[in-house]
Amino acid sequence: MDLALAERENTILGQDFLTWLWHASEARRGVFKDKDGREFNLRMEERLSVQGGDGEGLESAVVKSPSGELTEARSGLRSGKKVSRAQLRFERDPEAWQVTLKDNDFSLSGLKTPKIETNDRDDVDPDARVLEKLFLIEQCLELLDGVYREFLGLRLGTAKWTEETRTMRDWIGQGQP
């Protein structure tokens, strides 16, 4: 498929995923499971962008909230906007990753992995630091892919997604004045 033709699908999938992820992370109190059934924590935090409309009517709002309340972003969802960029924090004891994910291309920015433990000493493999870093990056991608796979299972199952959107609608409407 032509890359440009996938633009529409990229935005639909990316925004639905990030919006679902915000809801799922709150509904489950951040607890997800990796492919081996091991629990990890995933939360959206501090920075989030929501977007709605299209063409000249495209509107977006960037919300920064150190406390993680993101009230303004939630009111954006109530007016029909969806999450277009989110800062995610993965925690799997004792390690933590932070990354910002963009809706339409899944580009990853500000990826912070756990600290590399390998020392830069002469007696260790000179590539050890790179290999450890790559291992940590791939672990983060694996956790992210696992969550995306779970989302796809819901999104492509008509009945499941209808039920999920109903739950999300209730969640978005909560706290409405």
Partner: protein
């Protein structure tokens, strides 16, 4: 090495075609054949190619091989000469003023459009000869077990250059793992792709 940075920008790719087994053996030579060529002593505006991920000055992989564990690691080096527009404009004014003076001495009152273009090109070459190229390095990591590629940048121009040079070097096409292509690679099969293509946006309000 950018890949070791505390904060990373990443683009993920999948190789579209099946990767021939022989490619991993050939890859060090392919990287060298398409390595970065220095333009410090020329007036070229841009140059790009591969270099050692451990040292951007090493285009022979003399310091270390590109293979690290089950990864093939290399960097895209891009050197660019940037002439600030204000500097270019000033030197064009100086050159045109000199040309006009000479033209007047020869009894002509103006400089033709073609000659103006020539002068601008000459000025640009002169300025380029006096300016040093600014190097930029973008790391790339190819997992030889999964075939997946990580490019350490999210910049659109750097990505386009990387995709083209990768294709030229290895004869393989890269597909960025955007939401659609990541989903397609996870689900596999034409039926799943057809379902993805038929998706309509969800309404949450």
């Amino acid at each position: 090495m950018a890949i070791l940075s505390t904060s990373l920008g990443l683009t993920r790719y999948r190789v579209v075609e099946a990767i021939p087994d022989s490619l991993w053996r050939e890859s060090p030579k392919r990287l060298k054949d398409n390595a970065f060529r220095d333009i410090d002593a020329t007036t070229d505006e841009r140059s790009w190619g591969w270099c050692n991920i451990d040292n951007m000055l090493d285009m022979e992989w003399a310091e270390s091989p590109p293979e690290k564990g089950h990864y093939l690691c290399f960097s895209l080096r891009l050197d660019t000469r940037r002439i600030p527009p204000a500097v270019f404009k000033k030197h064009c004014m100086i050159a045109l003023a000199g040309e006009l003076e000479q033209a007047k001495a020869e009894g002509k009152a103006f400089i033709s459009k073609d000659r103006r273009r020539e002068i601008r090109e000459m000025v640009m070459l002169r300025l380029r000869a006096r300016s040093l190229p600014v190097p930029a390095v973008f790391d790339a990591v190819w997992n030889m077990q999964t075939g997946r590629v990580l490019f350490v940048s999210t910049n659109a121009k750097a990505k386009a250059l990387f995709e083209d040079h990768f294709n030229l070097t290895f004869g393989l096409n890269l597909e960025p793992l955007t939401p659609f292509f990541l989903a397609a690679s996870m689900l596999g099969g034409d039926a799943a792709i057809a379902r993805l293509e038929a998706l309509e946006p969800s309404t949450f309000v």
